[in-house]
Amino acid sequence: MKRLAARLLAGVGVLWGAATLTFVAIHFSAGDPVLAILGGPDAIPTPQQLAQVREEYGFDQPLWVQYGRYVGRIAQGDFGESYRLRIPVTEAIGKQIGATLQLALSAALLAIGLALASAVLTAKRNPWVRRVASASELVLSSSPSFVLGILLLLVFSFQWPVLPPAGSNGWQTLILPTIALALPIAGMLSQVLRQELEDILEQPFIAMARARGLSQTAVRLRHALRHALVPLVTLSGFIFASLLGGAVVTEMLFARQGIGRMMLDAAVAKDAPVVLGITLLAALVYVVVNLLVDVLNGLIDPRVKPR
């Protein structure tokens, strides 16, 4: 319990750090926020409007005052209002997050499923099968989602129109983006998993299990896999980061709604509150994922029991 409390406290620290770093980065990056609020470089706000906005948003205050207000507001759960959309950031994110979650979740499931299947089926099998599998994994893990996405679009939407190329309504629109997002992650994961599985299959307890008369498959599924899962869980941070990064490109390419696309738009328009909001959300998810990983690792591998 005490350990959990400490971890939670550390999590809050991480969030605070992320908030501060983003605040500093945005402050020192190019672009006047007043212009961002009033429509961008070509807009023609009047001098009164400029002065008014500067005062209203407190940009005329010293930096530390601005920072203090910002942290204070965040602590109360107030993330401010988007410069570009003129609605609360929480509302803006709330409306987009569902689509991203859907995509991320289905891509994560597909990636893990594919990786497990490939690892279990090919570890320590016929060298040719193994070679083909690991070569294709290498290709996939080094292909960016947007290249895969364009290929998928060309084949399954344009040449052979079986799946819709754009949108985020209905399960059909989820298929291509999910595959595009999942394949590079699957390629990477299955490489790690197979390596792990092969190491484990060398272990004496596997020979013991075989000696007890268990079939090859049963050994793999019941004994080896459980051990191989540990690195998978530890890698969930990597999976999460890949999903978030990939979502930006995938959502653009497939014209899906979502926070990835929103983040890009916000960054281009220098919409600081939205950028900050999404960054903090990402940091929050990261902290939660890492907490869960700790707990899960303890369950899967009793040796890492918390002390």
Binding site: S29, A30, G31, D32, L35, A36, I37, L38, G39, G40, P41, D42, A43, I44, P45, T46, P47, Q48, Q49, L50, A51, Q52, V53, E56, R84, L85, R86, I87, A92, K95, Q96, F146, I150, L153, S157, F158, P161, P164, P165, A166, G167, S168, V249, M252, L253, F254, A255, R256, Q257, G258, R261, M262, L264, D265, V268, A269, K270
Partner: protein, 570 residues
């Protein structure tokens, strides 16, 4: 009116694919590709039937439309997004409209009078118009709308500036409104016809102004049903609508039951969904696909020109070396091959341009269209005369030990893709001038721009329905300063040009306006604050089943009121 949010990789990805198969045939004349008729004098005229309904349509059906970008808000007073031009026409109406020849014509205002001193405008309003929440459109509604445009809380980037001379208004009776201006400002009627100045329900403005962004209430032919940002919107017909602008000759409600708008950033996808009949209409037809679309039996491509300022290849900072010398500016203008630039950016769709007003702008004068035309010999002569006669080892011109060299800043956008930047650089090199290209993110460019820290900036345009766009871009009043933003990037301050453009703001006499604007256009080719390269064009495409499309006389963008679907068409 510029569109700024184009540095998308959606576009880049599309281009990535397309570049492999871009045509290398010699550029055919883009004249045949532009809608309308371009006569020998260089004047463009559109068929009047582009602007009004010619036959009654069949009601019913859903039109599936795609566009590249989302405006992010329906509060058009708080927006300056280019898509507002056609988007606002779906849910809103304006006070005024224009006729086929660009003259101001009635819409929600039946008629208007301007006082002899040009400072009092009296509007006589229609008395049968309602907003979709049941509120009546009347003098109070007009007053509330003008207030909302300039309310600091609206943070209007455009509408507020367009009505800046407006001081206050008087409600004479329910349907008569008197607007008082600080000074004579003849563009006033024109800007009131623009989509960014559409009429919003006064009740909504008073009670829930924040809700306009997502749940707008207008008096337009359609009502917004649902809106998901970056995804799309659905509109349904308003059955009791019967106040379309008389110029459109459309009577009664719209024909379409529904419009489904999808935001599709990827060019390739907009094209392929149209081709596979997954959509009926795209407002952003990719230039690289127009050849294929024109060849298709089932698709129609339309190519329209935005009024006022064409795309610029670059704008000079006239305060800085080497562009403080007008001869150097003129030489660069003559050295740039606009035909080539138009072809690189528009795949044969764009019309090259050497003067400062779009061909279809009221009071455009084609007399000066060739003054700055591509002429390498003339460019070389200009530079020789300016004393840039010596050359260094790399072939660049040198004077007093200094190379003829400047930095060209830009960010990736339709008027200024990197391909255009590189072509400009290569053209300048041919006459011995060096351009060092710096492509950068928009925010960084904005900072450099605000600080005045640039030799030349690539790209840019300004769309408005009056030649007053020249005031916004080249009058000394429009220069930026620490307290004021402005779009006169050239920092030009030419007393003669200032006088002409200011006088035009005070005049309502068409003959006088023609003389003033002609002289201003001539003057611009003498002072050369920028190098126009091609017209700012709107490419749209739709299936042949889409009938009855007319164009908005104000923005030259599609107006969906008269569109209908031919269910029998393939």
């Amino acid at each position: 009116m510029p569109i700024n949010h184009w540095s998308r990789f959606g576009l880049l990805l599309g281009l990535l694919l397309v570049s492999a198969c871009s045509p290398d045939a010699p550029p055919p004349s883009s004249v045949q590709r532009v809608d309308g008729h371009l006569d020998a004098q260089g004047l463009l005229s559109y068929d009047p039937s582009d602007y009004h309904e010619t036959r009654q349509g069949t009601p019913g059906g859903t039109l599936r439309v795609s566009a590249a970008l989302d405006t992010g808000t329906f509060d058009v007073h708080s927006s300056y997004h280019g898509n507002v031009q056609w988007l606002a026409r779906i849910v809103y109406d304006c006070l005024l409209y224009q006729d086929e020849n660009g003259k101001i014509s009635p819409w929600l205002a039946k008629s208007w009078d301007v006082s002899p001193d040009g400072k009092t405008y009296t509007f006589h309003l229609r008395d049968d118009v309602t907003f979709s929440d049941g509120e009546k459109f009347n003098a109070e509604a007009l007053r509330v709308n003008l207030e909302h445009m300039r309310d600091p809380a609206t943070k209007s980037p455009l509408a507020a500036a367009y009505i800046a001379p407006y001081v206050d208004g008087r409600i004479i009776d329910d349907y008569t409104f008197e607007a008082h201006l600080r000074e004579p400002y003849s563009p006033f009627l024109y800007v009131l016809a623009q989509s960014w100045l559409s009429m919003v329900s006064p009740k909504q403005i008073r009670e829930a102004p924040k809700s306009i962004a997502e749940h707008p209430i207008g008096s337009g032919p359609f009502v917004l049903q649902s809106y998901t940002r970056e995804q799309g919107a659905t509109f349904t017909r308003r059955a009791d609508y019967h106040w379309a602008p008389p110029v459109t000759r459309h009577i009664g409600p719209a024909y379409l039951d529904r419009i489904e708008l999808s935001i599709v950033p990827e060019a390739m996808t907009r094209y392929s969904t149209l081709q596979s009949k997954r959509s009926d209409f795209t407002l952003d037809a990719p230039a690289q696909n127009t050849a294929a679309m024109r060849a298709s039996q089932n698709l129609v491509v339309r190519n329209r020109i935005r009024m006022a300022s064409p795309y610029r290849s670059l704008t000079f900072n006239t305060l800085r070396f080497p562009f403080d010398d007008v001869r150097v500016r003129k030489a660069v203008a003559q050295a740039i091959d606009r035909d080539g630039l138009a072809w690189i950016a528009g795949f044969g769709e764009f019309l090259p341009k050497s003067d400062y007003l779009a061909v279809n702008t009221p009071f455009y004068d084609p007399a000066y269209r060739d003054v700055l035309k591509y002429d390498v010999d003339a460019a070389n002569r200009q530079l020789d005369e300016a004393g840039w006669t010596a050359r260094d080892a790399e072939g660049y011109r040198v004077k007093n030990g200094r190379r003829l060299s400047a930095h060209l800043l830009g960010f990736e956008s339709p008027p200024f893709p990197s391909s255009v930047a590189v072509a400009v650089q290569a053209d300048a090199k041919k006459v011995g001038m060096q351009f060092i290209i710096e492509m950068m993110p928009l925010a960084q460019l904005t900072d450099r721009r605000t600080a005045g820290n640039y030799d030349a900036i690539g790209g840019g345009y300004w769309h408005t329905n009056t030649p007053d766009g020249l005031y916004i871009l080249y009058h000394s009043d429009s220069r930026a300063s620490p307290t004021k933003s402005g779009n006169n990037l050239s920092n030009l301050s030419d007393p003669r040009l200032d006088q002409l453009l200011s006088a035009a703001r005070r005049s309502h006499d068409p003959r006088e306006l023609q003389a003033l604007y002609s002289a201003a256009q001539q003057r611009l080719t003498e002072v050369v604050p920028a190098v126009p390269d091609f017209e700012s064009q709107v490419l749209i495409a739709y299936r042949t089943a889409v009938k009855g499309l007319i164009f908005d006389t104000v923005h030259n963008t599609p107006f969906f009121i008269s569109v209908w679907l031919d269910q029998e068409a393939p």
